[in-house]
């Protein structure tokens, strides 16, 4: 478990700062928090968070969880991601957790969920495949 790697990643990635994302650690469980911000709104009429921002937050959560695994030497490359949107996100803190389904030698499959008021009523979920960058060179898709 390497939480410092995850926190270091979030501090160094400009886009994580743009989205207002930080990590909370409770024992060995990591929850990411995207700060409340009107700048994340997609639809100004109902004040709904932009689906793209929610997706981006989920993808960051997945990458941070991969860093926690301690197996990453460099930033992992996303191969593909799919987002499901369940409920409107509003202007308040958004939380997310990721779960590594399979961590292989060169690839990983990760799922993540985001919620606001109730953990049991998520606003969105993601699953995706990531190429892990190995210490001995750049990982290519083929």
């Amino acid at each position: 478990m390497n939480f410092e790697a995850a926190e270091d990643f979030l501090k160094r990635a400009p886009y994580a700062e743009f989205l207002g994302v930080r990590a909370l650690l409770h024992g060995d469980e990591m929850t990411l928090v995207m700060a409340e911000s009107r700048r994340l709104i997609g639809n100004p009429i109902n004040g709904a968070l932009h689906g793209g921002a929610i997706g981006a937050f989920l993808e960051l959560t997945a990458v941070a969880q991969l860093y926690v695994s301690g197996k990453l030497e460099k930033f992992p490359k996303t191969i593909d991601v799919t987002f499901d949107y369940f409920r409107t996100g509003l202007v308040k803190e958004t939380y997310a957790r990721a779960h590594i389904v399979r961590l292989g030698r060169t690839m990983a499959n990760v799922r993540a969920e985001a919620w606001q008021d109730e953990r049991s009523r998520p606003i969105a979920a993601m699953h995706g495949n990531f190429m892990l960058n190995r210490a001995d060179g750049e990982a290519e898709l083929d």
Binding site: P44, K77, I79
Partner: protein, 189 residues
């Protein structure tokens, strides 16, 4: 906006009205505006936007590549608005799901483009596909496939919304009054 300009706008076909207010709709969406989206073009069933490279939007600081999440947001926006161009009038569309395939990293420093096409409209669901590229549309950075729920809205409400957006075009007193009183129904999240 002068009376004659506003009646000219009201007389335009819906797709042309949408074309005229597309940048306004981007600027009215805080996240789209913060990411620097710029409307490029649309047709019935197609929407094209671009975003300039911005150091604040980099995902991997060692390589200076724009973060995947920015492309996700561009594609969500483009797909949603492509569905809007295919609908007969302005109606909210809400993302159900969105899949992104990352074919290759975008070139550091490059402006990125996203084009989406509404593939199919049913009464309640719209399907769209999109692509992102940087220098050459024939060498894409990412593909997207998406489904949206179409939220019903009365014709009167649609008309009010598009006319309100049109009133913002020239700026001025009429648009300030409109902004204070009511909002346009957002077309996409």
């Amino acid at each position: 906006m002068t009376e004659s300009a506003s009646s000219e706008f009201a007389a335009l076909p819906y797709v042309e009205q949408l074309r005229a207010v597309s940048q306004i709709m981007i600027d009215g969406s805080p996240q789209a505006r913060a990411l620097g989206f710029k409307f490029v073009d649309l047709e019935e069933g197609m929407y094209l936007l671009k975003a300039d490279w911005n150091a604040r939007l980099v995902g991997d600081p060692d390589r200076g590549v724009i973060a995947g999440g920015v492309l996700t947001t561009m594609l969500d926006h483009a797909c949603g608005f492509a569905c809007n161009t295919a609908l007969p009038r302005l109606m909210p569309v809400v993302t159900l799901d969105l899949r992104i395939d990352y074919l290759r990293p975008a070139k550091p420093g490059a402006t990125v483009f996203a084009r989406a096409v509404c593939e199919k409209l049913t009464r309640r669901i719209a399907f769209a596909r999109g692509a992102v590229w940087d220098e050459d549309e024939g060498d894409p950075v990412a593909f997207a496939a998406s489904a949206f729920a179409i939220r019903d809205q009365s014709e009167e409400s649609s008309r009010e919304s598009i006319l309100f957006l049109g009133s913002l075009l020239a700026g001025g007193r009429e648009s300030e009054a409109g902004a204070a009183g009511k909002g346009a129904k957002g077309a996409a999240e």
